[in-house]
Every structure is written in structure tokens, then in C-alpha cells.
Subunit: 219 residues, 2 copies
């Protein structure tokens, strides 16, 4: 088997695993939406428990990337593709971590006096989720325009964060007895904002795969 | 030059760069302490601007790691050492990012009506900073016990976070006009808590270098 074919076959396997890892993440985000809407502490616990699956994928894919570099010694854009995958899975893992972090706050909220969910939280989750879905899709198709749209969408999520923080500060003032719960929602939306940042990172790695130019850190 | 000597020479260079990157991070954390104490928006801007230096180190070291894997094809503990360095610098970069994130909130605070710094914030920064310093040192000496102490110290930082969050909720109740500023401090301490988490990750990678056993994700 020619060396390049060996590289291509192994890369294909890698890509499939990344896509599978992305599906597990999407499922986790969907569960976060449900747990948030119902303030469901039990489901939140399940989300935390399922984080292991993502960690396992990360280790498996990383190992395969290293083995591929050592064995096939890819250069130029072939090497770029593999190293970018290593960075992408690290960001996917962080997003999944934040699903677990948010779940911890859902559990706290489920044990406290209920409050009405602050405005825009669900809209913010959906905006962030769309970024993740689009990122995975742009990875599959190496679609530069779609990756660009993900990066642009980060502003929308950031705006939601600012708007919700303003709303929460007003709500705390009017309902001082609920300050604890509002603070917990503030933590939750902070994590959502970070998740969108990680999706942006992934989109930038995808652009790097396609163009060879790295935008990360320039923002 | 025998292959193994080539590996050892390149590894030595890598390690030195990681130590230099660690020094830049320490300087950045020291600046955060000063900027926090004085609520110094100008210094906070400098911290944000200096984040590029860390990003440059990360890219340079990562490139060198990949080149080393492709060229020297290390196996077993030699390979483990290189791949762990790639993970360590990613965590160092995140901690530096959070220095910049905190600085954004210091700038906001510097433009608002001044409030007394909430209790324990500075103690929390120092506890986190000590973890970072000890992590770098345990990396230099491959000191398993010191890495263990870093991991144990994470609980102290977490306790500070919980204590400060409680304090902030009470303070908000008593000073509803300062809720905005207290919310910003809440964001700052959340970042401090994350920074300690990243230091813990680094300590776990150092243990992995030494023992070959990975504790990450098991916590």
C-alpha cells in the first residue's frame, strides 16, 4: 500500500471518530436544554455521568493522531489536518465539560426555591447549539463559508450574554431573596458564552485546515 | 548523532521553552494581582495586550513537538513526554487567557462607582498563583509529590470560590445599587477557579509523564 493511501485511510477513520464525538456532544447539549427547561436535577446528573464518553473519544482520537504522525510522517497540509484535529477534539471536550458544569448549577437550582427562568437563556442555548452543529457540519464538508458563519454567530451569543447579565442585575435588585438563584443563572450563561467561544475556535481550526492560515488569537 | 541523543537535545529545548512560557504566565498573574488591588484599568489593558506573547509560545512549542514526533519517532515514555507537553502548553495558554478575561472585568470595574473589594478575593488569587508556580516547578523537576500537592490545593481554591459567592450574594442583598459590580467580581472569581482547574490539569499531565497513568477525567 503506498504511504499516502495509508495516510488517507487513517485520516478517514479519524474524521469518522470526530463526527461521532460531535454527535455525542450534540446529544449532551440537547439534554442540557431539556434539563434547563424543566430544572431537572436527575437529568443533570445523567449529563455529568455521560461526560466520560467524550473523554474516551478525546483520548482515542488523540492517540490515533499521534500514531498517524509517527507512522506516516505527513507533511504540509496533511500534517496540518492531523494537528488541527487534535485541537478540535480538545475544544469539543471543553464544550462537553461545560455541559457538565452547567448541570452542576441545574442541580443546585433544582434544590432551591423555584424562580422563573430569566429571559433569553433558552434563546442563547439555541444560538450556541446552532454554532456547534454548524461547526461539525463545516468540518465534515470542509466548508469555509459555513465556518465563517459560525465565527460571525459568536457575536450573537455574546450579545445574549450581555443582555441576560443586565436582566439578571435588575431581577436581583427587585427580588433580593432570589439573588442566589439569579447568580447561578449568571454562571450558567457564562458557561454558554464560553461554549460558543470554543465553537468559534473549532471553526478557526477548520479554516486553518482549508486555507493554512490561522486566525486564532488574532480576534 | 545517535537518534536518541537527537531526541534528548530537542526535548531539552522544548522544556526550556515551556519554562519560559511559564515565566511569562507568572508575570501576567502578578500583574492581575496588582491590577485587581488598584482596580487599574490601564494595567488591565496591558495584560490583555501581552496575551499575544503566550499565544506565540504555544504555537512555537506545539510546532516543535510535532516536528520532534515526525522526525525522531519517539515511543513509550519518550512519546508520552512530548504529547504531554502539548497538553500542558494548552492549559498554560488557557490560564493566560483567563488573565485577559479577568482584565476585561477590571476595566469595567474601573469605569464604575468604586466598591470595596469583596473579602478573600486576593487570598484566592494567591492560592491559585501558588498552584501555578508549583506546577511549573514540578514540571522542571518531574516532582511527583509536588504535582500531588497542586492537585490537593485545588480544593482550597474551590472553597474560596464558594465562600466568596456566598459573601457576594449577601453583599448584593445589602447594597442593591452595587449589584453590577458584585456580579463582575463573581465573574472574576469564577475565572480564578477555572485557572486553578487548569493548573490541576497540568499537574495531572506531569504525573502522567512520570508514572504513565492518566488521572484526568477521573476526578
Amino acid at each position: 500500500m503506498p504511504a499516502r493511501q495509508g495516510y488517507l485511510d487513517e485520516l478517514e477513520k479519524l474524521k469518522n471518530d470526530v463526527i461521532k464525538m460531535g454527535s455525542v456532544l450534540e446529544e449532551s447539549i440537547n439534554n442540557v436544554v431539556t434539563a434547563l427547561k424543566k430544572v431537572d436535577g436527575k437529568l443533570a446528573e445523567d449529563i455529568i455521568a455521560s461526560d466520560d464518553k467524550i473523554d474516551d473519544y478525546e483520548r482515542k482520537i488523540e492517540k490515533a493522531c499521534i500514531a498517524l504522525i509517527a507512522k506516516q510522517q505527513p507533511v504540509a497540509s496533511d500534517l496540518r489536518r492531523v494537528t488541527s484535529i487534535m485541537r478540535i477534539i480538545a475544544d469539543v471536550e471543553r464544550i462537553a465539560d461545560h455541559c457538565a458544569d452547567i448541570s452542576e448549577y441545574i442541580i443546585k437550582l433544582s434544590n432551591e426555591e423555584e424562580i422563573v427562568m430569566p429571559k433569553y437563556v433558552i434563546e442563547m442555548v439555541y444560538a450556541m447549539k446552532q454554532m456547534v452543529v454548524d461547526t461539525i457540519e463545516s468540518f465534515v464538508n470542509e466548508d469555509h463559508d459555513q465556518a465563517e458563519r459560525v465565527i460571525a454567530a459568536d457575536d450573537i451569543v455574546d450579545d445574549y450574554f450581555e443582555k441576560i447579565m443586565d436582566e439578571l442585575c435588575i431581577a436581583m435588585k427587585h427580588n433580593p431573596d432570589k439573588i442566589r438563584q439569579y447568580s447561578e443563572y449568571l454562571m450558567i450563561v457564562k458557561y454558554l458564552e464560553r461554549m460558543a467561544d470554543h465553537a468559534t475556535n473549532i471553526a478557526e481550526w477548520i479554516e486553518f485546515i482549508i486555507t493554512g492560515e490561522l486566525e486564532i488569537g488574532k480576534q
